[in-house]
């Protein structure tokens, strides 16, 4: 497993685990970041990234992206 920040733009990956405090995890889940869901990385700027999950585009900063393990 590695954090989502390691994925390259254009790559589609599957979420294995979401770590962090309950409330952060819950919020990520509400946005569609749940285990076994596929995520497509659209662009990466300095660790912050934009990705596509469940048909919506979500921007995450590095701190948050590190919590999503792929």
């Amino acid at each position: 497993m590695m954090p989502l920040t390691m994925a390259q733009p254009g790559q589609t990956v599957v979420i294995r685990k979401v770590t962090g405090k309950d409330e952060v995890r819950q919020h990520l889940a509400e946005l569609g970041f749940v285990v076994e869901e596929a995520v497509t990385v659209i662009s990466v700027i300095g660790g912050n990234l934009i990705c596509k999950v469940k048909d919506s585009r979500v921007a995450l900063n590095r701190d948050m992206a590190c919590r999503i393990m792929i």
Partner: protein
Amino acid sequence: MSITIALAGNPNSGKTTLFNDLTGSSQYVGNWPGVTVEKKEGRLKGHKDVVIQDLPGIYSLSPYTLEEVVARSYLVKEKPDAILNIVDGTNIERNLYLTTQLIELGIPVVVAVNMMDLVRKNGDRIDTNKLGEALGCKVVEMSALKGQGSLEAAEAAIAAAQEKKQGEHPHVFTGSVEHAIAHIEESIQGRVDAQVLRWHAVKLFERDEKELQELQLAQDLKTHIEQHIADCEKELDDDAESIITNQRYAYISRVIDRAVKKKASRHALSVSDKIDRIVTNRILALPIFVVVMWAVYTIAMGGTKVSIGTMATDWTNDVLVSEWICGNLGAWMEAIGCAPWLTGLVVDGIVAGVGAVIGFVPQMLVLFFLLAILEDVGYMARIAFIMDRIFRRFGLSGKSFIPMLVATGCGVPGIMASRTIENDRDRKMTIMTTGFIPCGAKMPIIGLFAGALFGGSGWIATSAYFIGVGAVIVSGIILKKTKLFAGDPAPFVMELPAYHIPSAKNVLHATWERGWSFIKRAGTVILASSVVLWFLQGFGFVDGVFGMVEDNNTSLLASVGNVVAPVFAPLGFGTWQGAVATFTGLIAKENVVATFGVLYGFAEVAEDGAEIWTLLAGDFTALTAYSFMIFNLLCAPCFAAIGAIKREMNNAKWTWIAIGYMCGFAYVVAMIVYQLGMVFAGHFGVGTVVALLLLAGLVYLLLRKNKYQDSELRVPVRSVAAK
């Protein structure tokens, strides 16, 4: 009997457009009690007895963000007659997550699938009948942007409210989870209304703190429920909250399988994604951003041939206000024989004061219009993302950029724009620092001193921007290390809307909304204070008799100025004129120039005060002028902006903290510059020592270790556009 319909949906689902469409101009905008979350309600067009209550855009009813707390407590406690749930058809899976929670509330729900035109264009199909059957509620199609189906959706909600029948609860949960929830339902039966039993049971299963607080269950009952939850968690090897989330998504994907047919594979890149690959590209993002901002700034505030904003503002100032209103009104009032004091009050007091603000309106409208386009297109959300990395370094979030950008035009709408920042701490910090940005009204001050003492050097204006931006950065770093702002800025999580062609209706509506509140707020405060200032300036005691004075050195204003002046002595401008000009700057910053004009005996001066340059050069040295400029750029903003701060802070204590901080910071910086500048001129005294100590203090505050550093992430956030 009146019916209340609550409008609920995800951010970016088109809720605002639908709300505007349904209510037209009959809107009431306020705040939800105790918080700065905007509350909008209005009456449905053609149905006087139907109230549409707009709820903030939310992803779920878990009480994590302020918006969710507000929406949830409204739905649970106020119990609207029906919920109209707007769902983005192009992103139906995630949007239905909220729907599964709404249908548990025991309130009739109508689901309106928005953006159906786009869904069809993509070649996808959504079978609303099947969807409705599966969810146990009525599902209608609509396209808010094209105005199709909105009224039908509202009518379906009215019908559902009148019928009062709520659908069967769909089988969202399965297996041991359903079993445990059923048990919880059984054990709390009779304590809550039968209709909302499911909602309460699910919340108890999630161990929702707010729910536990409100239900006040007996200890043995709690233990009993806890046992069920723990068993379930053990069986599924997950925590209760995740179990519920996963089952909701599993349920949704079963529903989608039946009712939705997608043409393209889910992970194919859409046009919007392709644009994002360029616009938010690692290398191109910043250059594109700079070009866009430059274009916006040039059109709204620049001095080129395409600068519509500047041209319109110049016309308003020079022709509309000066010639037409001031000139004609004055002549007319004299002609009909008005008392001179009344003519003075109207022309010099009210028209001159309010006119100064009105002059900014065209420029503001152009700026708001361009920003509204960027927002509607979807670029604004990307700007926040691109800037986040930079702003985070000094304790602000990427979303602080937009208020600061607007503030280069005027601080009032700039401070108001901070509303889109949902994290309380980030928002307060943005409100406190936005006023440092040199706004349009501060430009004349810079022009005056640059012209009078620095030979019109362009470097003075440039340095003013650097001072403003520097003040924001330094303040960000200092403030984030204080107890008031402890902790990291909220992690950046934001849904980005798909790029789309802006709708004229949305853009004009947003422009007008912001523009009007600017005119209204600035207009009322300035009107009142112009009258007061005019009075103080024109009246005074001469030989013990109160009356209108010819020489304003004897005016009430001068008396006040003389008392205050010593305060500014350490900054180098301890004259009553300097004090008075600073004071009148509070009413509107460009008043500083006008005040000097009046004080030096010129009835009217050009915007940059060219007439008084020589006189001013006699009273000020380059150093005192620069110190005066710094103080006036950084100290408390004008009354209109203070009013905006008060409104956005929604708290008297925080308003005073913000104003106190700004004045204190301005004082310290101006003093350091003046006193240390004097050292170069060969003066060394007590002031120098104090200034050095202050400088050392500032450096310490900047460099000290942050003892409140909180490595744990704080409450996450919602999307920027409440659309």
